[in-house]
């Protein structure tokens, strides 16, 4: 290993240790020895930044950075909920329609019911929480496969969205747009800060709460956790509720950013969220996953979109590139074993 490499890796390890020391207890779902691959996303991140710096002069403007950050808020929040579910060994395919449902409900409550903003937001969150609770109940109570249950609700909730409104709803209350979209701190808007705080809360939840540790353990061996005297069902239910809430929050912020809620919103969002978790080191089937890694995955996917947009690359190529990144992430891990 050259001195330069050694220096670089020590910076990564140092940064991670600092983050860890904030929360005392390991960054990941399954804490233990960290290896280079756990920081590989940081390398990919730096590489993308380098490409950006050399190829686009617009990239480093405050406007673009702010745009980039606002764009990753949606996937960031969805991925966070997805991570909790993946860590238990499950999956939540229904997050896309939940995003649409909460977006359209919050808009409808503001525009048609003229409810005050906080009430509308709470109702929309409640809708997401309910959707998650339904998924979690079916999965934990009847021991159904998460893939099947959420595949069913993926369709059913989308149907409910159209039942609620077949046409887009535009909330005309200007404060709904500005409150989340106005820059507060440099390029940071409230929506970005909400996402960042959500990540910190999740880091705390996973590492420092009994429920978080139980959820991580369930993904590794559900029966062992049950025999340790932990209520497994309740924790699985909780994981899906968290996922529903995160998706709903993403939907609210997305409606605020776009200024319009379409019933077709969020198609395919579940795939980006799963991708972010996997790039960040989550193992489908449970037994591994990392909050910081997922954040890295979200940023990388966001960077790809943003950069290729700036460079005027057609979106088909973006999809190809994203697919390759996902494969690379999984391949790199496989080699590491």
């Amino acid at each position: 290993m050259s001195i330069q490499q050694a220096k670089k890796s020590s910076i990564f390890v140092g940064a991670a240790n600092w983050l860890r020391s904030l929360f005392l207890g390991g960054t990941g779902g399954a804490d233990g020895k960290r290896r280079w691959i756990d920081y590989a996303f940081l390398g990919a991140f730096l590489l993308l930044l380098l490409v950006a710096a050399t190829m686009s002069d617009v990239f480093f403007t405050q406007r673009n950075i702010s745009n980039l950050l606002r764009q990753i808020v949606t996937n960031g929040l969805i991925s966070l909920g997805m991570l909790v579910v993946i860590v238990t060994g499950g999956i939540d395919l229904s997050v896309g329609p939940v995003v649409a449902f909460s977006a359209i409900v919050v808009s409808g409550m503001i525009q048609n019911q003229h409810l005050p903003l906080p009430v509308a937001i709470l109702i929309a969150l409640g809708v997401g929480g309910l959707a998650g609770a339904f998924n979690g109940f079916m999965i934990s109570r009847f021991k159904l496969q998460p893939f099947i249950v959420t595949l069913a609700t993926l369709g059913a909730i989308r149907g409910l969205v159209y039942v609620y409104s077949q046409t887009p709803i535009t909330p005309e209350d200007p404060s709904f747009r500005t409150i989340f979209g106005m820059p507060i701190l440099g390029p940071f808007t409230l929506s970005i800060l909400i996402m960042l705080v959500a990540f910190l809360v999740m880091l705390f939840f996973i590492n420092r709460t009994t429920a978080g540790r139980a959820i991580v353990a369930i993904g590794g061996n559900e029966e062992a956790v049950r025999l340790a005297g932990i209520n497994v069902r309740r924790h699985i239910l909780l994981a899906y509720i968290i996922s529903g809430l995160c998706a709903a929050l993403a939907g609210i912020l997305l409606a605020s950013r776009l200024g319009i809620a379409q019933p077709s919103l969020g198609v395919g969002f579940e795939l980006d969220a799963i991708a972010a978790c996997v790039i960040g080191g989550a193992i489908l089937g449970g037994g591994g996953g990392s909050v910081i890694g997922t954040f890295g995955g979200v940023v990388i996917l966001g960077l790809i979109d943003n950069l290729l947009n700036l460079l005027n690359v057609q979106s088909y190529y973006q999809q190809i590139f994203k697919g390759l990144i996902i494969l690379f992430a999984v391949l790199a891990r496989r080699k590491d074993k």
């Binding site: 804490d31 020895k33 956790v225 340790a228």
Partner: protein
């Protein structure tokens, strides 16, 4: 032919991540012998066997068969040379039938090559099973429905299809009852007469002395020596394995019995066991012996609330309790170490810290938020108390040896400060030195007033540890023996239904 060494392994070296598992082992064996390989966990016996079976690649050394060097770089290459290994973890396809598993990849076909001749297939499979002395099973049965020992027989029958010359049996007896063990030994004798070489790995020295023609001892990746069963006794062998005298295997203790800790009355679960009644006092170690399938584990699971009993009462320290879930049982002060640590004892993907604190997180948290400092301190204390190695609590349990994994589970239940401890095969797949440590620990716990129910299929363990021994057979409690009256013959007779 039988007197010359058929298999010669010379200067075998293998290291993992810098630790040398094999430091140049010279091993040889003949056809027509049962050659046992013993050693503590981590001594390198499994590694050596995996090198031979092609599951691991050696770093250095050569392997000769019948005097000619052979290339073994994959399990497939080993198969073609007539080397077959039966590991503790089976390689069966659980949702397929016995027939399909035994004939996997070589199902007989009809004239049209893509049509399976099922009738012939079932016949062939039944024949293969009969050849190894195993009858009375419908070959159409799904493997998932078989007991562990039956699965092992299928695994052996599957390997026997290719008529291997070298058999590697890795801890074949760990899952077997006494009766099944007898059948396995008969099978081994038959293979031996067909002049196969049987390499037999086991922790159970009694068995090794019974079945082996020669015994090779490995320690820390080196071959210590090869002896014949007549030349050494168990104690000498143990000394070779651990390099020191262990002293007494079982601790001597004066039981100090207190109040009733646990009482079970007319406990039943449909299809598993019926009308089981016994009691357990504080400070008492009660051994529960029974063959596999006798229902002993099911009784334990029902006491612990893991399965619901269909009838019966449970009293804990005089008060009636009815645990509906393991959670209720843990809260009531019952702990349960399960027999299969990989299946339901440990979360392999988690750290020592997470595993050891799993049952007691609410003791180190407030409103669901963990006090990680307190948790870590408590876990660290148990890790040093039980001398778990490595002593780093953020190590994944997957990276630990079997003995240390077992200690992590013990740490989990020690932290829960349970007053009734149910131990189901606590020393399965654990090396001798750790066994001794676990026995001392059990004895200490009893001395501190914990009531202990020790379930085991190892008679010496039951006899050496229990103040009182219970015997189960076919779902019923068939005998109770105070320490003075318990003997190997009596317990075995009682467990197998032989009238004395």
């Amino acid at each position: 032919m039988a007197e010359t060494d058929f298999l010669v392994m010379r200067g075998i070296r293998k290291s993992f991540d810098g630790t040398q598992a094999l430091k140049g082992v010279d091993f040889s064996a003949r056809l027509g012998e049962v050659h046992a390989i013993v050693g503590e966990n981590g001594a390198g016996k499994s590694t050596l066997m995996k090198v031979l079976a092609g599951a691991l690649r050696r770093d250095a050394g050569e392997i000769l068969m019948d005097g000619t060097p052979v290339v073994i770089n994959s399990p497939f290459a080993a198969h073609r040379l007539g080397i077959r290994a039966v590991y503790q973890e089976f390689s069966l396809v659980r949702h397929l039938s016995i027939t399909e598993n035994i004939l996997l990849g070589q199902m007989p076909t009809r004239r049209l090559k893509w049509l399976v001749d099922w009738k012939l297939a079932h016949q062939q499979a039944a024949q293969k099973l009969a050849e190894i002395g195993f009858t009375g099973l419908n070959v159409r049965t799904q493997v998932a429905r078989l007991s562990v020992s039956q699965q092992q027989m299928v695994e052996i029958a599957k390997a026997a299809v290719t008529r291997p010359r070298i058999w590697i049996l890795d801890e074949p007896s760990a899952v077997l009852s006494q009766e099944e063990l007898k059948r396995l030994f008969e099978l081994i004798q038959r293979l031996k007469q067909e002049s196969a070489l049987i390499l037999y790995i086991s922790h159970r020295l009694e068995e090794v002395f019974e079945v082996a023609d020669r015994i090779t001892v490995l320690k820390d990746g080196e071959l210590i020596g090869t002896v014949k069963p007549g030349e050494a006794d168990q104690n000498q062998l143990i000394k070779m394995m651990v390099g020191r005298d262990l002293g007494e295997l079982f601790p001597r203790r004066q039981p100090n019995l207190g109040e009733e800790a646990l009482a079970v009355r007319d406990f039943s679960r449909a299809g598993s066991f019926e009308k089981v009644s016994f009691s357990l006092r504080r400070g008492e170690i009660v051994g529960l012996f029974g063959l596999v399938g006798s229902g002993r584990t099911q009784v334990a699971r029902c006491i612990f609330g893991a399965d619901p009993p269909s009838a019966g009462e449970l009293r804990l320290e005089g008060k009636p309790v009815r645990p509906r879930s393991p959670r209720d049982a843990v809260r009531a002060g019952i702990a349960f170490l399960t027999e299969d640590r990989k299946r339901d004892g440990l979360v392999m993907s988690c750290s020592i810290r997470d595993n050891a604190s799993l049952a007691t997180m609410n003791q180190v948290s407030r409103l669901g938020v963990l006090n990680v400092r307190k948790r870590d301190a408590r876990v660290q204390e148990k890790v040093s108390e039980l001398s778990i190695h490595p002593a780093q609590i953020n190590r994944l349990v997957r990276q630990l040896s079997g003995g240390n994994q077992q200690k992590v589970i013990l740490a989990k239940w020690l932290l829960s400060e349970a007053r009734v401890l149910i131990l189901d095969e606590p020393t399965r797949g654990v090396d001798v030195a750790t066994k001794v440590e676990i026995y001392r620990l059990i004895s200490d716990l009893a001395d501190r007033g914990v009531g202990i129910l020790l379930i085991s299929s190892e008679l010496p363990e039951i006899l050496g540890m229990s103040d009182r021994a219970l015997v189960m057979r076919e779902g019923a409690l068939t005998g109770e023996f105070p320490r003075a009256q318990a003997s190997e013959e009596r317990l075995l007779a009682c467990a197998s239904g032989v009238v004395q």
